[in-house]
C-alpha cells in the first residue's frame, strides 16, 4: 500500500515536503494508526501523536485524504491510494503530523467548560431525571481531538476569536445540563459577531466528527436559546 505523508522538521527542513512510503504487508482489519507505526519502524523520524488506539483519547487526529479523522479508527482498506496524510489544516505545525493545539485548547477554556452551580452543595447527589440526563448524550462524549474545529473555515479565519465547533459543543453541553446555573453568563459570553454567530452552518464539523457528534446542531440549540432568552 502506498502512502504520501507530510514531513516537516523545523530543525532540518527548509520547507515541508511529501514523503512516499510503501507498506508491503497490510494486515486484515488494519487501522491507519498501526500503519503509521509500521511506517515509523521504516523511518523512525516520522512523528505523530497516538495513544489508546481505540478512539477514546483523541490523540491521533490527522488529515486523511483530505478529511480530518482519527488514525486509530480509520481502516486503511477503505482508503484510496496513495493515501495522503497531512497534519490538521489551519493550525501551526510543530513537526510532521504533530500540530500546535494550544489555540484550540484556549478556545475550549474560554467557554468555561465546567459545571457552575450557586446553590449550596447537598449531602448526596444532585437529582437529575433520566430524561434530563439524556440531553447530555451526543455532547459529553467529545474527546477534544480537534477534528471538527480544524475543519471549520470560520475557525481557520478567526482562530483567536471564534470558539469553534468543539468549544461551542462544550458550551451547549453545560447549557443543556439541568444542574448548571450559569445560563445567562454563558449566553452573554457567546454574544457578538465573532462568537456564536460566526458559525455559518457549513457543517464540516458534523461531517468529520469521529465520535458521530453534531456541533452544528448544538450551536443551533444555543442560537435558539439565545433568541428565546432575549425576547
Amino acid at each position: 500500500m502506498r502512502f504520501k505523508i507530510y514531513r516537516y522538521n523545523p530543525d532540518v527542513d527548509e520547507e515541508p515536503y511529501m514523503q512516499e512510503f510503501v507498506l508491503e504487508h497490510v494486515k486484515p482489519g488494519m487501522m491507519l494508526r498501526e500503519a503509521l507505526m509500521e511506517l515509523k519502524n521504516q523511518d523512525e523520524t516520522l512523528s505523530f501523536r497516538h495513544s489508546c488506539g481505540e478512539g477514546v483519547c483523541g490523540s491521533d487526529g490527522v488529515n486523511i485524504n483530505g478529511l480530518n479523522g482519527l488514525a486509530c479508527i480509520t481502516p486503511v482498506a477503505e482508503l484510496t491510494e496513495p493515501v495522503e496524510i497531512r497534519p490538521f489544516p489551519g493550525v501551526p505545525v510543530i513537526r510532521d503530523l504533530v500540530v500546535d493545539m494550544s489555540g484550540f485548547y484556549k478556545q475550549y477554556r474560554s467557554v468555561k467548560p465546567f459545571l457552575i452551580r450557586y446553590d449550596p452543595e447537598p449531602e448526596a447527589e444532585n437529582l437529575q431525571s433520566p430524561e434530563e440526563r439524556d440531553k447530555l448524550d451526543g455532547l459529553y462524549e467529545c474527546i477534544l481531538c480537534g477534528c471538527c474545529s480544524t475543519a471549520c473555515p470560520s475557525f481557520w479565519w478567526n482562530p483567536d476569536k471564534f470558539p469553534g465547533p468543539s468549544a461551542l459543543l462544550q458550551s451547549w453541553r453545560f447549557l443543556a445540563d439541568s444542574r448548571d446555573q450559569a445560563m445567562e453568563e454563558r449566553l452573554d459570553a457567546l454574544d457578538g459577531p465573532y462568537k456564536l454567530f460566526r458559525c455559518h452552518t457549513i457543517m464540516n464539523c458534523a461531517y468529520v466528527c469521529p465520535k458521530g457528534l453534531n456541533p452544528t446542531k448544538a450551536i443551533g440549540h444555543i442560537k435558539a436559546l439565545m433568541l428565546k432568552h432575549s425576547v
Partner: protein, 587 residues
C-alpha cells in the same frame, strides 16, 4: 550543563484521574501546584475506563461500605491491607457525590439518583446476594470523570506542563525528594522542576505485554523512576488479565457487559462459568474468570477456527439496553470487529490490563520503604497514588470498579497529607547536583549516534517475552527462563541507537526512555513472580496450585540495584472494624 529551573510548592507527575484529583485538592487549598504530563491531560489512560466506580450508595439495592470492604479484602485474596481498604470503602460515597457535584454526567435511575450496576465480586451481607455498587456514566465512566476533573482544574487554575516527559526524581543528600528532571517534548530541552513534595501518579505499565487493553503511553514511567531511585516495587507479580479483551486485538470490553446480564459461552454454547463459580457465575472476580477462560481454551473448548477464544453473549439483552448502557463497547465492536453485539456474540480472551503492584505507600499516599528496623519508613516529600502505587488496596487481585475509586481516594488523601507537609516544610531545600547530573545523563545518553539496534525491536522482544513467560498460568521453569530472557533483553539496551537525533517533538526519543522504564519493570515483575511459590489472586502457578498463607501472606518488595527481594507483612488490622481473616475464596 546549566539546566533551567522552575519552582512550585508541589509537583504532580501524571494527569490521569489520580493526579488531577490531587491537583484539584491542592489548587483549591491555594498551594502552588504544577502537573507534568507526557500527554495532554484528557489523553491520559483514565479516559479509557468504562464500567464505573464502586461506592456503596445503595441507590439500587441495600448496601454499605463494610460489605464493600469485605468484597475488596476477599477479592484481594487476603493480600490487601485492611486499614487502607477500610479507608477507601468508607470514603467512596462521599467522593462519588463530590464528582457528581463537579459535573460528572452519571447515568441516572428513575429516582434521579446515580445509576449503579452490578459488577464482579460484589456481594451484600459479606458474601451473600449480588450487590449493585458500580456507579456509571454509560460505559464511558473514565472519560466522564477525567474530563470533569480536568475541567475543574481549569477552573482552579492549576499549572500544567503538557507534553513534558519526566526523566528521573531529584533528591538531596538526606534522601528527601525535591522534584524531577523533565524534557519538554516539543523542544527536546531539559527542565528541572523543583518542589517541596512530588506525587507520582503516572499510571500503569500494560505495555509490558503484547496484547493489552492499555494505551501506548502506559509504560510505567513513575514506577521505574522509583526503582532507579532505590525504592523497591511492591507485589509486582500480581498483574491482572481482564477476562474480556477482544480476542487477538486487546480492546477492552467492560465487565459492565456482564453486569448488565451478558455471559460467556464456549464452543459448545455452554455457559461454562457455572462450573467455576456456581453462585455468581460470570460475575466472579476477574482472576477467576480469566483462569476459567484460559482453561476452557486449553482443554479444547475454545471458539473460532483456532479454538483460541470464547464468546461473550449480549444478544439476549435487547438493543435498548446495549444502546443505553453499553454504547461505547458497541462502537468498538462495530469498528474493530464489524459486528454488532446486539445480534452477534463478541470473541474475547484474557488480556493484560492492570498492575496491582507498584510503589509502596501507606494510606496517606506517602511512599514507604524498609529502613533499619522499620518495614515502612516514610520517604520525605515523596507520594504516589493510583495504578503506579501499591497501598495496597487491591492485593493479589483488583475488583472491577475499584481502580477509579483508588485514584480518587488516594489522589485526595495524598493531597491532604501534602498540605500538612507543606505547612511544616515552608522552604525549598537545595537538591543534590550529582543527582541532577545523573538524571541528565540518562536523558543525554540517547544523543549517542551510530549504528545499533532500534528501540522498536527491543520493545517488541520484551513484550513477547513477558507474554510467553509471565502470563495467566505460570511455572518455575517458564519463569526462570523468563528471567534469563528479560536479562538478555535488558543487556541489549546500551547498544540501542536512535536514528532520529532531532530535538523537536522527537517521539522516538520518548519511546527510548519508555523502553528503559519498561525493561526495569519487567525484571521486577518477572523476579517477584518467580519467587512466589503459591497461587494467590492473579498469580496462578501450576506447580503451586494453592494459596499458602503460612509462608506467603506477605508483600514482595523488589529492589533493582542489587536485584533482590524482600518481604513485609500484610496490614491485617483495619482502622476501626474487625479483621477479615483469610478463608477459602469461592464465588
Amino acid at each position: 550543563m546549566n539546566i533551567p529551573v522552575r519552582r512550585f510548592d508541589t509537583l504532580i507527575l501524571g494527569a490521569g484521574g489520580g493526579g488531577l484529583r490531587a491537583a484539584l485538592q491542592l489548587a483549591r487549598a491555594d498551594a502552588h501546584v504544577a502537573v507534568v504530563s507526557k500527554v495532554f491531560p484528557t489523553r491520559s489512560h483514565t479516559v479509557a475506563a468504562q464500567g464505573g466506580v464502586n461506592a456503596a450508595l445503595a441507590n439500587v439495592t441495600p448496601d454499605n461500605w463494610h460489605w464493600h470492604m469485605y468484597d475488596t479484602v476477599k477479592g484481594s485474596d487476603y493480600l490487601g491491607d485492611q486499614d487502607a481498604i477500610e479507608y477507601m470503602c468508607r470514603a467512596a460515597a462521599h467522593l462519588v457525590y463530590e464528582l457528581e457535584h463537579a459535573g460528572v454526567p452519571f447515568s441516572r435511575l428513575e429516582s434521579g439518583r446515580i445509576y449503579q450496576r452490578p459488577f464482579g465480586g460484589q456481594s451484600r451481607e459479606f458474601g451473600g446476594a449480588q450487590a449493585t455498587r458500580t456507579c456509571a456514566a454509560a460505559d464511558r465512566t473514565g472519560h466522564a470523570i477525567l474530563h470533569t476533573l480536568y475541567q475543574q482544574n481549569i477552573r482552579a487554575r492549576t499549572h500544567f506542563f503538557d507534553e513534558y516527559f519526566a526523566i528521573d526524581l531529584i533528591h538531596d543528600d538526606e534522601g528527601a525528594v525535591l522534584g524531577v528532571l523533565t524534557m519538554d517534548i516539543a523542544t527536546g530541552e531539559p527542565l528541572v522542576i523543583e518542589a517541596k513534595t512530588t506525587l507520582i501518579a503516572t499510571g500503569g505499565c500494560g505495555q509490558l505485554y503484547r496484547t493489552t487493553t492499555n494505551a501506548h503511553i502506559n509504560t510505567g514511567d513513575g514506577m521505574a523512576m522509583a526503582l532507579r531511585a532505590g525504592i523497591p516495587l511492591q507485589d509486582m507479580e500480581f498483574f491482572q488479565f481482564h477476562p474480556t479483551g477482544i480476542a487477538g486485538k486487546g480492546m477492552l470490553i467492560t465487565e459492565g457487559a456482564r453486569g448488565e446480564g451478558g455471559y460467556l459461552v464456549n464452543k459448545d454454547g455452554e455457559r461454562f462459568m457455572e462450573r467455576y463459580a456456581p453462585n455468581v457465575k460470570d460475575l466472579a472476580s476477574r482472576d477467576v474468570v480469566s483462569r476459567a477462560i484460559s482453561i476452557e481454551v486449553r482443554e479444547g473448548r475454545g471458539c473460532g477456527p483456532n479454538a483460541d477464544h470464547v464468546m461473550l453473549k449480549l444478544d439476549h439483552l435487547g438493543s435498548d439496553i446495549v444502546a443505553k448502557r453499553l454504547p461505547g463497547i458497541r462502537d468498538t465492536c462495530k469498528t474493530f470487529m464489524h459486528l454488532d453485539p446486539v445480534d452477534t456474540p463478541i470473541p474475547v480472551f484474557p488480556t493484560a490490563h492492570y498492575a496491582m503492584g507498584g510503589i509502596p505507600t501507606d494510606r496517606f499516599g506517602r511512599v514507604v520503604m524498609p529502613s533499619g528496623d522499620s518495614p515502612e519508613e516514610v520517604i520525605p516529600g515523596l507520594y504516589a497514588a493510583g495504578e503506579c502505587a501499591c497501598v495496597s488496596v487491591h492485593g493479589a487481585n483488583r475488583l472491577g470498579g475499584n481502580s477509579l475509586l483508588d485514584i480518587l481516594v488516594f489522589g485526595r488523601a495524598a493531597a491532604n497529607d501534602i498540605l500538612g507537609f507543606l505547612k511544616n516544610n515552608r522552604y525549598h531545600r537545595p537538591p543534590n547536583q550529582a543527582c541532577i547530573d545523573k538524571a541528565y545523563e540518562r536523558f543525554a545518553r540517547w544523543e549517542k549516534r551510530g549504528d545499533g539496534e532500534s528501540v522498536q525491536a527491543v520493545r517488541a522482544d520484551l513484550k513477547k517475552a513477558m507474554e510467553d513467560h509471565c502470563g495467566v498460568f505460570r511455572t518455575e521453569k517458564i519463569m526462570q527462563e523468563g528471567i534469563d530472557v528479560i536479562k538478555a533483553i535488558r543487556a541489549r539496551i546500551p547498544d540501542v541507537r536512535l536514528q532520529d537525533q532531532s530535538k523537536v517533538f522527537n517521539t522516538a526519543r520518548v519511546e527510548a526512555l519508555e523502553l528503559e522504564n519498561l525493561a526495569d519493570i519487567a525484571i521486577a515483575t518477572m523476579r517477584s513472580a518467580e519467587a512466589r511459590q503459591e497461587s494467590r489472586g492473579a498469580h496462578s502457578r501450576i506447580d503451586y496450585p494453592d494459596r499458602d498463607d503460612a509462608h506467603w501472606m506477605k508483600h514482595s518488595l523488589y529492589t533493582l540495584q542489587d536485584d533482590s527481594l524482600d518481604y513485609k507483612p500484610v496490614r491485617t488490622k483495619p482502622m476501626s472494624v474487625e479483621t477479615f481473616p483469610p478463608k477459602k475464596r469461592v464465588y
